[in-house]
């Protein structure tokens, strides 16, 4: 069989169109815009309250911390008590838990997933690796500070934080949302160039559009 001899890459890009993928046709080129909160105070409060009580988590695990998430979702800690629920795709979810160290390769996927999420979206950074690099502070391939690449709403310190700490972090996040202070997505849109410059500094083979959503 001739098809069997082809590598996966060749099957995906039949005409040898490697890397020159059709950016314009597949992706929208629009850049993110910051969304201003509703002017009416009562309506705004209601919106924030509703948002705070339906946080959908993206099931994306990086680093050691992703092992803390299964007990969180299952019977023992049962996070659905708090209105949180894991979702499989970025399009459906509103909370991104960065659960530990990020290598450059993962960071690229994280950025793509983050940008694909719908707008009220929040980032929860877990573990000391996201704060200052943790025990991987001198590694050649893991980032030190997550807030240079993505806007972080809540940090949960520890190595590794237990599920209780995560629940405390979620409560903090809810409180911030109710107060209207969890404006990470807007921060990202407003300082878009700065974030992109930092991301491009370390992701050397940048082969995706500026903002992919």
């Amino acid at each position: 069989m001739k098809d069997d001899e082809k590598t996966i890459d060749e099957m995906l890009n039949p005409a040898g169109a490697e890397n020159e993928f059709l950016t314009e046709e597949y992706y929208c080129q629009a850049l993110p815009k910051s969304v201003q909160p509703v002017a009416n105070k009562i309506v705004r409060k209601f919106y924030n309250w509703a948002q705070a009580n339906s946080l959908w988590i993206l099931a994306f695990g990086t680093g050691c911390g992703s092992i803390e998430l299964p007990p969180l979702f299952t019977a023992r800690y049962d996070i659905s008590r708090f209105g949180l629920f894991p979702r499989p795709t970025p399009r459906q979810s509103g909370v991104f838990i960065i659960s530990g160290y990020l290598s450059v390769k993962t960071l690229k996927r994280v950025i793509r997933s983050y940008e694909q999420m719908q707008n009220p979206k929040f980032v929860l950074a877990l573990g000391s690796c996201t704060v200052n690099g943790g025990m991987y502070f001198d590694s050649y391939n893991t980032i030190n500070r997550l807030d240079y690449y993505l806007p972080v709403d809540v940090y949960i310190a520890g190595c590794m934080p237990r599920p209780e700490a995560l629940i405390a972090g979620f409560n903090k996040l809810k409180q911030l949302i109710k107060e209207g202070k969890a404006e990470g997505a807007n921060k990202y849109a407003e300082n878009f160039e700065w974030y992109k410059a930092n991301q491009k500094k370390i992701i050397k083979n940048w082969d995706m559009p500026e903002y992919n959503w």
Partner: protein, 192 residues
């Protein structure tokens, strides 16, 4: 194990044998016969399982030492075949025709040490270091800490603590106060 080694000795020039345990021996061979030895061990001595290929950078001797660890399922013994290759022209024959899985190890060694394995599938493609443009990071001359500090925006305020001193102060508060003086001990307890 003894028999295997005698048979090996009668066929190949084994430069060195290090018997670590009764079921684990490391043999050092020259680069040209290495693939032969590995093939012989696989096909005639029953070392059917390639456990790993690893590399060590001996910068002071100007060599890379490759270790092919093989396992025998019948006898439950391991043999490590060590080969030293020149650091200036790091090139080794590929063994992906013996074990397809070796291709992955070789790809990794190419990425981390810059050792070339001509003919190995996808050997030059990056595995985890996408778009890496520096010298391969596992080489000894690569300064990991410096690179990380220059690249990844380190956060201020890290400090080191010597675990011995910390425990000493914790366990023998009076003695340490006499030894170091109160001021320093108090400062150390605060963690600076």
């Amino acid at each position: 194990m003894k028999d295997i080694l005698t048979r090996l000795d009668s066929r190949f020039v084994i430069e060195r044998k290090d018997e670590t345990r009764s079921n684990l021996v490391f043999i050092t061979v020259k680069k040209p016969v290495a693939i032969e030895v590995i093939t012989y061990l696989r096909d005639y001595e029953g070392f059917r399982h390639l456990v790993l290929i690893s590399a060590v950078d001996y910068i002071e001797r100007n060599v890379f030492q490759l270790t092919y660890l093989l396992h025998n399922y019948q006898l439950h013994v391991d043999i490590g075949v060590r080969v030293e290759i020149d650091r200036q022209h790091p090139q080794m024959d590929s063994i992906h025709h013996l074990w397809a899985a070796a291709g992955v190890y070789q790809r990794e060694l190419h990425e981390m040490f810059g050792i070339d394995f001509p003919g190995s599938p996808h050997v030059a493609e990056p595995m985890i270091l996408e778009g890496w443009d520096n010298i391969p990071p596992m080489r000894k001359e690569f300064d990991t800490k410096k690179y990380a500090e220059e690249t990844y925006f380190p956060r201020e305020g890290r400090f080191k603590q010597d675990p011995r001193e910390v425990m000493e102060i914790k366990l023998y508060p009076v003695d340490t106060e006499v030894k170091y003086g109160i001021k320093q001990v108090v400062r150390k307890r605060r963690g600076h």
